[in-house]
Symmetry: C2
Subunit: 509 residues, 2 copies
């Protein structure tokens, strides 16, 4: 929460024309006043304003879900939430805020993990929840154009009858909004197959901080006319403007899905296995998930299914979950069966054993082993979660070295760190490193940071593969990005948001 | 070539510190002098300098291939070509040029179609041809890191033994370089399947105009740490910096490819057919190419194969070429055969007939029908070629309306326009609209422009789906991009290249 400390409230500061906020960020930002709320009520419906400052003030607890993130780590003190219904209303809000130097936090489903969508102080919250209409869908091209506030699951449901799926899928799909997905460059389970949002988002409608509408909401798969500005907003976490509309390519729905869990005698076999699986399953491979022994045992302990017998798992150092999604069930099953046969009949088998799901129920129960790790960890203690990208070959080394590092600090015991475990998306190079402790303790945090960030930097990895920077990791950005990169980011911020009103304290310090 | 007119050579202009080149672009750029060449010879090998100004001046015709584009439409008057061998050398060249306000044109294989890689005047040409080493390839992840000057075909050959392919494929693959592919955001035949370079490029190494090296050459599939700056260089056509290294995700090679040509009674069937084909072939569909009747007849007339008998094609208004690429030949053939059966047994068939290739030779001969259109057109006369994106449903309307427009101007006859035809990538919404004339005539050009650009703008399409803007279409950019977009592009140009030395007269006027 370093950003909060930097942000002094100096309402009385005279407004200087042409004043560079880059030199002295946020010092001239103003809180929302009753006059501001009165202005907003001129063009917003009464139910689009939730404010303790309005003529009909709301109870402070009505603002709670907007001011706090869902993991309970980040807390803002905003007095006012606006829920515009049109792009034009967003434009008028931002124009006023820019003119009056009022900071604005755009908020989607507020499901982020790094505090990007709640105020660090008393910024105005601009919720996109009321902008939730599908604008168009072309079943032939699969191109969907939707308001930013559409919930991901609703969009999935919308395209399903047309035999299409959304290219992005997340645990939070029931609450997260497509605009927030784009603003945070959400990854998720389908990235291996369908690629990142930088490839699948075709166009955006964005309201710039000064209220102007940047309309790049095209439905073109190919357009080589100048710099691809929309890319800057993908992953900018609302610091450059407010995304109000999204045009996105939805892939045809697969006709069949299968999965198999494999027990491996040693981690060294994971990468040769990945290579074999990729070659055998080719275009139908849709997930290749790694679970280390500690993570597997915790998932089983907390009842997340038991697909393999104890005999099967004896001597297994880690596990891999493989999923296929294809156009015809019998072809996919044949490919999967042939793969298993090849693996088991090898002279030096890469796997001890493997179990192929035989029914939809088994399919779900295999996935539960992987997806249940999160819940098992939360039942076991307090978790420090790191979402990092490192080379595939280093997954085990990073987990083991972290455990040894904690042991060397005398912190690996029942009253401190109980488990260090790893799981994640091998196909994406994305490791979820979890440190499960008896309680959150400063000495554990000090032992973990900057240690883990330094390990990531030494591997030229990413300190945030999926979750973003938000308010949580601004101080750690230099571990993944060079000084020149950060300098250029700041200049780009200055181009789009010279007064620094957009989501201050996020992404850039 | 409007840009060339704007660019006055004013060597004598005093150098003003902090002078904004945005206000008065390029007026303070200097030509290369003998002193500059003497400086370059201090750190470049003798064979890295080709200049009429050096102590050992080259013959002017040695510069011809660098000063002229391959279609013979754009001609520069550069005196000096530098061919650095390392990123450090590129850095030293740019630092000197920036300090001395010498304009620089980065040049890859010089295979572009819009004059983006040749000087509009006497800029220094920086050829990447000597930076042609693969830096690393990881056969497990499929991530390739290569110098920008590597030729696309060499990279294809490099990854082939590892069972991988490049995600981009072009007719010019024998000459074009990966750095140029990225700088122009090349599309090509594999885009439908593997997506655009915005998704497959994982990292870039770029030398900024001031000589600093922006190292974002990561090999991470996922990295959510701040603005994705590399995206700006993809499609910037060398106007923001020089790409010196590329990290790119190469997909596993398909094990089998098949194709089929279909004759359709009416254009109205193309889109329902596309929908059916997508559903039936799902993840193995790798191309869906449209050829109108005029284009087909020209291809056949000029000997580009004859896959269908005259009987088969009688009454066909257009043709579609479908390609599959999959992991197992027998599965793919079964899917294709079932598709054909489904299509032919329908109550109201969408197709008149279809021919499935039965051998590698037939596979090539079916593709020759589609790829031979270009050659047939060039044998038939002088072609005006437009590479546009419009909605799939408008392909025929755009071609027909253009023909009628020319007819209404009295230009549709043997001595003016002979054919108006369309073909292209239905899957990408990319139509190649060709107007074949007896000779290039001003009245034809006046009838076509801005007419076609206005049609594109009315469809919210792109005036350049694949080829880029270069020097050729800077004046037409407003047909595809709003005033706000262009203003922001200019500000971004100013951030990266405040002195305007990078490829002046390209992309932005």
């Amino acid at each position: 929460m370093l950003a909060a400390r930097l942000w002094a409230r100096q309402r009385a500061l005279p407004r200087r024309v042409g004043f560079s906020t880059a030199a002295l960020p946020h010092t001239s930002l103003n809180p929302v006043t009753e006059q501001d709320v009165a202005h907003f009520s001129k063009f917003l419906a009464p139910n689009s304003i939730i404010s303790t400052l309005s003529p009909n003030p709301c109870a402070p607890d009505e603002l709670e879900t907007y001011n706090n993130d869902w993991i309970g780590r980040f807390h803002g003190q905003s007095t006012t939430v606006l829920k515009p219904k049109t792009t034009q209303e967003v434009s008028e809000i931002l124009k006023w805020c820019n003119d009056h130097r009022i900071a604005v936090v755009p908020q989607g489903g507020n499901t982020g993990l790094v505090g990007g969508s709640v105020p660090v102080n008393n910024e105005l919250i601009l919720s996109l929840a009321n902008m939730n209409k599908v604008r168009s869908f072309d079943p032939i091209s699969g191109i969907l154009v939707a308001d930013a506030g559409c919930i991901l699951q609703s969009l999935t449901d919308y395209v399903a009858p047309h035999n299409h799926i959304m290219p992005v899928d997340l645990g939070a799909k029931g609450s997260c909004q497509i605009g927030g997905n784009v603003a945070t460059n959400a990854g998720g389970l389908r990235l291996l197959r369908y690629g990142s949002l930088h490839g699948t988002v075709l166009g955006l409608e964005v309201v710039l901080p000064d209220g102007r509408i940047l309309d790049q909401l095209t439905t073109l798969r190919k357009d080589n006319t100048g710099y691809d500005l929309k890319q800057l907003f993908i992953g900018a976490e609302g610091t450059l403007g407010v995304i109000t509309g999204v045009s996105i390519l939805t892939p045809p729905a697969p006709q069949a899905s299968n999965n198999v869990i494999l027990a491996l005698p040693t981690f060294d076999n994971v990468l040769p296995l990945y290579q074999t699986v990729k070659r055998q399953l080719s275009e139908i491979l849709s997930a290749f998930e790694f679970i280390d022994r500690t993570a597997y045992d915790l998932a089983v302990k907390h009842g997340q299914g038991r697909a393999l017998s104890e005999e099967d798992t004896k001597g297994a150092e880690c596990f891999v979950l493989v999923e296929t999604s294809g156009g015809r069930r019998e072809h996919d099953e044949e490919k999967l069966n042939d793969l298993l046969e090849l693996l088991l009949s090898a002279d030096k088998p890469l796997i001890n054993t493997g179990v192929l799901s035989q029914s939809p129920a088994q399919f779900i129960s295999l996935w539960a082993l992987r997806e249940g790790v999160t819940e098992a960890v939360s039942k076991e203690g307090k978790a420090y979660k790191y979402d990092i990208s490192v080379p595939l070959s280093s997954f085990k080394e990073v987990v083991d070295n972290t455990r040894e590092h904690l042991r060397s600090k005398g912190l690996l015991h029942d009253k401190a760190v109980k488990y260090v475990l790893g799981y994640g998306h091998v196909g994406d190079g994305n490791l979820h490193l979890n440190i499960v402790a008896d309680a959150y303790l400063p000495e554990i945090e000090n032992a973990l940071e900057p240690y883990i960030y330094e390990v990531v930097a030494a591997h030229r990895g990413s300190i945030s593969a999926e979750h973003g920077i938000g308010a949580m990791k601004t101080h750690a950005l230099p571990y993944s990005k060079s000084a020149i990169s950060i300098e250029l980011m700041k200049k780009i911020k200055q181009v789009f948001d010279p007064r620094g009103i957009m989501n201050p304290g996020k992404v850039l310090e």
